[in-house]
């Protein structure tokens, strides 16, 4: 990855988005697990962020089949 010729493929970008989106999704949910005293459950800002994270992961999944094409 650190060579001068390396460029991300659609597959690798898809994997990164999938992992990043899934991690973000779980991280946003984890706020409520770690901070149990919060009122109101999953708040509106969290809901927006969850949708964004899920969308990111979904886009990642759809990029993976594109294989070695340059991203």
């Amino acid at each position: 990855m650190m060579s001068n010729r390396f460029t991300l493929s659609k597959r690798l970008l898809g994997l990164l988005l999938l992992i990043g989106g899934a991690a973000a999704f779980m991280g946003i949910l984890a706020i409520d697990l770690l901070d149990v005293g919060r009122e109101g459950g999953i708040g509106p800002a969290q809901q927006i962020a969850l949708v964004g994270a899920a969308a990111l992961a979904l886009v990642g999944v759809t990029l993976i089949p594109l294989g070695d094409r340059r991203a």
Binding site: M1, L8, V59, R69
Partner: protein
């Protein structure tokens, strides 16, 4: 003499020619509409530059920041002590404006001129980007003009505020960095990279919101060439952090407190959703092609910096729901929308779309096969649809004065009546929370009213507590407090109001001028206990409330009844 060897024109060629003619006529109509908005923009800019007071709340404090920089002082100060003033914005815009203070004194016009010109530069960069990618002059011009025609861009551009200067630097950065990885010549590539990253740094030190563009740019660099992105990212980060630490040390930590910690404000989801709906309602004709180009690049081509910039800017606009934020947070997204929609339009007109085979084409081909015969007419339809997009956009963003010639002639012809202040029509309707109630033109009556307030301030001996800086500056009095920043700090538990309240309790201020009552609650209560309303002067759509010391202050309990 006719060359008989040439083929006789066939019906499809004549049809194609007629579609090209329709395209040209419609594109000319679109450009006429968009040039009309340029005329409104220029008129509005000139109108504001001649207005000597705050037009948008807080402009005066940007002028104060500029004055402080012109004296070699940082505006990031301890707000717990007299004069309780601090800025919450990064320095670059004010530093750029500072030489104007030396040359022209303490006035508003040069800050507004910088915003006005910066917006034109951003529009020029959009024109350049679209022309470079698409090679179509008319569409490139329409893209830049569409940026200026946006209701949001129009109404914030000629203000004494740093936002559009940030957008200018952001736009220049992405336009410069767009093809950096494809430059074979190493010294030239380094120069281009350095220039692009310098623009991003400049954007960030103009307004914090530029971090989204920095993220998009480095994501683009990382996708294209991870090693280069990491190496330059480390250098970029070191320079950015070094400047940050230097300012923080020089201001004894006030830089961090005032510009970062105090800016964590309440999030109002309904405001965000309302502004997203409004953004789409006004710019939908360009957003749809922009999104289609992003999807195309994602699955059938390489991701451009513009696509990543668009996604980052649209996501970042979610912050428009913060208290104190608003539709201006969409300005970067609008710039990216104009670039992408322009490239989409140029490619459509050139019929230059290609779809390399992949799993999506394998799914689509059998479905689209029955419609194969429609491919040619569908391509020709693009020639008509593209200018119609710009005409539709021109209708969606309609805004103009309804009682100032020659704009009034257009308003009359369209049957448009004023729906905003001072005879102004704005298709945004000004109903979404967070949409700035500006864009109207100021009148001589507004200027007269402003001078009336200045006279009241001048008539008082000693300090005056004003929610806007202009009156104190023009009366040559010390500017006391920056109310919205005090509220930011108070909401984050970072403001000790005791010294300011002690001065209010002692009726130290001979006059208090209120516009929106932005002070923290305890400060407003102290004002109410010790001052009473003596006069309300309407200016620029606001009732400026003038309060003088009460003969007998109210007790610090239930007697407080509110200033409003």
């Amino acid at each position: 003499m006719t060359d008989t060897t040439l083929p006789v024109p066939t019906r499809p060629i004549r049809a194609a020619l007629s579609v090209v003619t329709v395209n040209r006529v419609l594109m000319a109509a679109a450009l006429v509409i968009l040039v009309g908005y340029l005329a409104v923009y220029i008129g509005y800019g000139l109108n504001l530059m001649a207005f000597p007071f705050d037009y948008d709340q807080g402009e005066g404090f940007e002028l104060v920041d500029t004055i402080l920089f012109s004296r070699g002082e940082f505006p990031y100060k301890d707000t717990n002590i007299y004069p309780f003033y601090s800025s919450n914005y990064p320095p670059l815009f004010h530093v750029i404006a500072a030489p104007f203070v030396w040359a022209f004194g303490e006035t508003y016009w040069y800050g507004r001129l910088l915003g006005f010109l910066g917006t034109l530069i951003a529009a020029g960069a959009i024109v350049f980007a679209v022309y470079r990618e698409g090679g179509n002059r008319a569409i490139a011009a329409a893209s830049g003009l569409a940026f200026l025609a946006s209701n949001t861009i129009y109404h914030i551009a000629p203000l004494f505020r740093q936002h559009m200067t940030m957008v200018m630097f952001e736009t220049l950065a992405v336009v410069v960095l767009c093809g950096v990885n494809e430059i074979e010549d190493k010294p030239q590539r380094r120069r281009v990279m350095l220039t692009g990253l310098a623009f991003i740094l400049a954007a960030g030190y103009t307004k914090q919101l530029a971090y989204a563009t920095a993220f998009a740019a480095f994501a683009f660099l990382f996708i294209r060439q991870p090693r280069r992105a990491v190496v330059w990212g480390v250098g970029f980060g070191m320079v950015g952090v070094a400047i940050f630490v230097w300012i923080n040390v020089a201001t004894h930590g006030q830089w961090w407190q005032q510009t970062i910690a105090a800016n964590v404000n309440e999030f109002i989801p309904d405001q965000t959703f309302g502004l997203y709906r409004l953004w789409f309602g006004l710019h939908g004709f360009l957003i749809v092609p922009a999104v289609l180009l992003v999807v195309y690049e994602l699955y059938f081509a390489r991701l451009s910096i513009y696509a990543l910039w668009f996604v980052a800017a649209v996501a970042n606009a979610a912050l428009s729901g913060k208290w104190g934020a608003g539709d201006s947070y969409f300005a970067t997204a609008i710039a990216a929308t104009c670039v992408l929609s322009g490239i989409f339009a140029a490619r459509t007109v050139k019929r230059a779309w290609t779809f390399p085979p992949n799993y999506l084409t394998r799914i689509a081909v059998p479905i689209l096969h029955p419609f194969k015969a429609l491919a040619r007419p569908f391509g020709a339809a693009g020639l008509v649809i593209v200018p119609l997009l710009y005409i539709g956009y021109g209708r969606a963003v309609l805004h103009l004065p309804t009682d100032i010639a020659p704009y009034s002639l257009v308003a009359d012809a369209l049957g448009v009546e004023a729906n905003a202040l001072n005879g102004f029509y704005d298709s945004a309707g000004r109903i979404a929370g967070g949409y700035a109630d500006i864009g109207h033109w100021t009148t001589q009556a507004d200027i007269d009213a402003g001078w009336q307030i200045v006279e009241r301030v001048r008539a008082v001996s000693g300090d005056v507590l004003s929610e806007e800086a202009a009156f104190n500056l023009l009366a040559e009095k010390t500017v006391i407090t920056n109310p919205t920043q005090l509220l930011n700090l108070a909401l984050n538990g970072m403001f000790d109001s005791s010294e300011l309240i002690a001065l209010i309790e002692a009726q130290h201020f001979g006059l208090v001028v209120m516009r929106a009552q932005f002070y923290p609650v305890d400060v407003l209560q102290a004002i109410d206990r010790n001052y009473e309303r003596t006069e309300t002067i309407p200016m620029n759509g606001f009732g400026y409330i003038l309060l003088q010391p009460r003969a007998v202050p109210l007790r610090n309990d239930i007697e407080t009844g509110g200033t409003g």
